[in-house]
Amino acid sequence: MPEASQIDYNGLIPNNVGLAEDLRVRKALETWHPGYIDWWKSMGPEGFQNSPVYLRTAVGVGSEGWAKFGFVRMPEYRWGILLAPQVEGRTIPFGAHKGEPAWQEVPGEYRAMLRRLLVIQGDTEPASVEQQRHLGATAPSLYDMRNLFQVNVEEGRHLWAMVYLLQKYFGRDGREEAGELLRRRSGDQDSPRMLGAFNEQTPDWLSFFMFTFFTDRDGKMQLAALAQSGFDPLSRTCRFMLTEEAHHMFVGETGVARVIQRTAEAMKAAGIDDPYDIERVRALGVIDLPTIQKKANLHFSLTLDLFGNEISTNAANAFNAGLKGRYREDKLTDDHQLTSSVYPVLRLRDGTIVNEDVPALSALNMRLRDDYVEDAATGVGRWNRVLERAGMAFRMILPHVAFNRRIGEFSAIHTDTDGNILSSEAWHARRESMLPSTDDNLFIASLMRTSRQPGSYAGWIAPPRQGIDNMPGDFEYVRISD
């Protein structure tokens, strides 16, 4: 095995997994590679495939080597296979096999369960690239355009990471699944992506920021749970992916914050105090705060559906098998087996929402979701500090977890954003005050005009506080004319 912190860039596929010596996997990946490039060209970012973009590429998995910046045309990006360094003597951290040496090969009895986890995770990676492929045309700045493409190429690399595991450890089935990952298409009626939120449209930039803030954060939680896995190659893969995922959170959080900041500034300049004076705010060419809240409500509720059912046998099995842990399992101080503990879960009982203690193993989806909500709330707090600094009384909130759900027990009811149960009539009457209406979406769409002068920004979004890689404000992140 080569030195794990350095990457072999000599072959077609940059890697730190000794691909040059692993003929079987190299052959599989090289067979898969042309299909991937075809997919990228036909389903990746539209219109900018030949433009050099100032992108970050990993050249090492150590703390310093993973972020090297330079201009690259996206189809020539060095998508590689990078695993965090192996930890000597690592043991399975939780579940029935706790304390046994971590698996370096797939245990036969868990093969199907593991493969399913990988395929579901893998399917989300290309899906978001597909969802975002038209956004380049309406980028509010070259800075934002570059961030979009950075997110896209890294989602592409995450796909690579999952495909490597499938091809390395799952034989023919794994190769077939790897092929299927390139054949499904977000939003396609005949061949959709596996999870609902990944078949929704990302029609505008506010949606993109909300998606990266809310939905990529689900990805972060899932990766964090898989990073604990007793299957060591999966753990190492996910640990490295998490370093990249952090940038996606950054894009989403700062993106929304800049939209909020711009709106607050414009309202102040125009002397508007009432955030609900929507027509006057919109006349300023910025997005009114209630509409930003409605977008957040939508993306938050769609993302909660990704956590699955309140009580889940699959999650219990995956934990007990040692395949998927809890968020920051290594920081938790219980018995890491959960066979006799309980966890409180919000449930629907006889038409009311109640808190109920259920066996902790069955409640793992909800535990991860609670961690997610807490993590998201921290980001929302930072948005509110922008409002606070601007002297606005308006505050962004996270809606109740029962709001607007399609999966799980709350899909049977309607609630408002505080979790009060609504009749069907009340829901329809109030829906557009809580979720974006067609008018709201049309208004946002009307603002989506691109701004491509280096250093210039569309009027509905504030410039960032600093540039990527500490570049100056007028840096040309995407050389469109080349």
Binding site: A96, Q189, S191, M194, N317, T339, L361
Partner: protein, 547 residues
């Protein structure tokens, strides 16, 4: 008490809709609608209550909707067709309940196949979402299986890898015998928890075709119409299956034509069939009489009584069949059924009688038929003589009884209308080793047979005269009640079905025997077994010893 009667106004789990020759039977299980407490029927999983509604719907489609030639089975839920029997229900249920549940669901699935095969009412399964375990087993009862190819929907039999049990409603047998799936591929299929989807499902013959979502509804409709075009079903106006009336008291259940008397101390239920008294004259009369026509009414009542006894009276070990009435009237009913057998309704009545008599064969109780003076075991009712483990007949008359001696009568229906699960008539099954006796019996159609003749021709087990009758009958019942109920169930199930195996006998015999064994073993039901551990996330501990 588990009640097997329902009607569409009371359904909680199924929806029926009609469009000309096509009916759609949509499974949309209410999670909160379980028959018992302690489990939720998630993901279109089912319990006995869901299946009771299904059986009712299948029956009503046959009698109430002669215009329906294709029944489309589909799911009302997104992403799941049917997840099979509810596992938490199975984990909590008593062994007896599990066996009764599996038996009833098997009978219901066979009734679906009976409709496709014999009634010109063909089932089409339109699978969108996953059809897992009992969900796939439900789908394979259909003649044509369509699977939506959305790269997610799949078919699977995950019982073994997921639950350490077997598919309990004929899944294994139908894979090899009906779908003709190669046995090694069937092995792969049955050990792959996530199942098979898309083109491979067609290549392995697990489904008949896969259809992309954009073409799905149109294609399902097109296939349904094609199947309808093949049908010989020609009725236009159905008959209403009005609710079977009964009164239940502590020691009796009384219907219009069937009386059940319970002697719990002796563990005996006596089922007395009352023969017909007022038959219609012709086909028109049969249709006008509808559900009150004696063969149909009696069959539905007997069916309900059997189901009631199976589920609600587990300690009753013996069923004694008796009858009261005029044999000539029963033969009159038989000749109506024979004369008008090409009519759709008469065909349905014959098929229902066939299924109810199969239910008798499949009932795990000792069956003793007593033929005494005043009885009417003729034609169709004589099937209860041949279905019984023993039939005894009163010879001669009792002193002071002016009813005349007991008689037995055969009709053409005994030879053709009511095949058992093994494909043989009960007489052919009885005379499996004596073909000459079968031929002789055929020559006795229409004859009045007294006890001596019946015994001579092997149509009864023993004949007893007044001197012996009371004592011999008492001894048979008392001796029977003293034997091990388990051993008797096994003995009777072996001896009732002779000769050839069919898919149906394999489903009941081979599969349920194995399944019922597995259901008793610690690997499934022990404290650390698969059914107890299911859903807890904790793996079952298996005893590695192979038996």
């Amino acid at each position: 008490m588990i009640d097997f009667q329902t009607d569409p106004t009371r359904y909680r789990h199924w929806k029926l809709s009609f469009d000309g020759p096509i009916a759609t039977l949509t499974m949309d299980v209410d999670p909160a609608g379980g028959l018992m407490d302690g489990y939720e029927l998630k993901l279109n999983s089912y319990d006995l209550g869901v299946d009771i509604e299904l059986a009712d719907a299948v029956q009503r489609l046959r009698f109430e909707h002669p215009e329906v030639k294709t029944v489309v089975l589909k799911s009302g839920k997104e992403n799941v067709f049917c997840a099979g029997a509810n596992i938490r229900m199975l984990g909590k249920a008593s062994h007896g309940h599990k066996v009764n549940f599996c038996k009833f669901t098997n009978e219901t699935r066979l009734s679906i196949e009976d409709a496709s095969e014999n009634s010109g009412q063909t089932y089409l399964a339109a699978i969108s979402g996953s059809a897992a375990g009992g969900g796939y087993e439900l789908a394979v009862t259909a003649d044509h299986i369509m699977l939506i190819d959305d790269r997610r929907s799949s078919v699977s039999l995950p019982e073994l890898p997921l639950l350490a049990v077997l598919p309990g409603t004929g899944g294994l047998t139908r894979l090899t015998d009906k779908r003709r799936v190669r046995r090694d591929l069937a092995d792969v299929f049955c050990t792959t928890e996530e199942g098979v989807r898309g083109k491979r499902a067609v290549q392995w013959r697990l489904v008949d075709e896969v259809v992309p979502p954009s073409a799905w509804e149109a294609k399902v409709n097109e296939r349904a119409l094609e199947l309808a075009a093949r049908s010989d079903r020609d009725g236009t106006k159905g008959i209403a299956l009005i609710q079977v009336q009964r009164t239940i008291s502590d020691d009796a259940i009384n219907y219009a034509h069937v009386r059940v008397a319970l002697d719990r101390a002796a563990r005996v239920a006596t089922i007395t069939i009352l023969g017909p008294s007022d038959l219609p004259a012709d086909l028109r009369g049969i249709h006008d009489t509808g559900a009150a026509f004696w063969p149909l009414a009696m069959a539905r009542e007997l069916d309900d009584a059997l189901l009631h006894l199976r589920s609600n009276e587990p300690s009753i070990g013996l069923i004694v069949f008796r009858s009261v009435g005029d044999p000539a009237q029963v033969l009159g009913a038989d000749s109506l059924l024979e004369q008008y057998q090409t009519d759709w309704l008469v065909r349905e009545i014959r098929l229902l009688l066939k299924r109810v008599l199969k239910r008798v064969d499949m009932t795990a109780r000792s069956l003793i038929t007593l033929i005494d003076p005043g009885s009417c075991f003729a034609g169709t009712l004589a099937e209860l003589v041949f279905a019984a483990d023993r039939a005894v007949m009163f010879a001669g008359s009792a002193a002071g009884d002016n009813r005349g001696p007991a008689t037995l009568h055969l009709s053409a229906l005994n030879f053709s209308a009511f095949p058992m699960g093994n494909g043989l008539s009960r007489l052919a099954n009885r005379f499996y080793g004596e073909p000459d006796s079968l031929n002789t019996a055929a020559a006795l159609i229409g004859e009045t047979l007294d006890a001596e003749a019946a015994e001579e021709h092997g149509l009864i087990t023993f004949a007893y005269d007044e001197t012996d009758w009371d004592d011999e009958v008492r001894l048979i019942l008392e001796e029977r009640a003293s034997f091990s109920p388990d051993a008797l169930t096994g003995l009777e199930a072996n001896l009732r079905f002779v000769g050839p195996e069919t898919m149906e006998t394999r489903i009941f015999g081979r599969l349920t025997a194995w399944q019922n064994w597995i259901f008793q073993r610690p690997n499934a039901v022990g404290e650390t077994g698969s059914l107890k551990r299911y859903g807890s996330g904790v793996r079952p501990d298996f005893d590695p010893e192979r038996v």
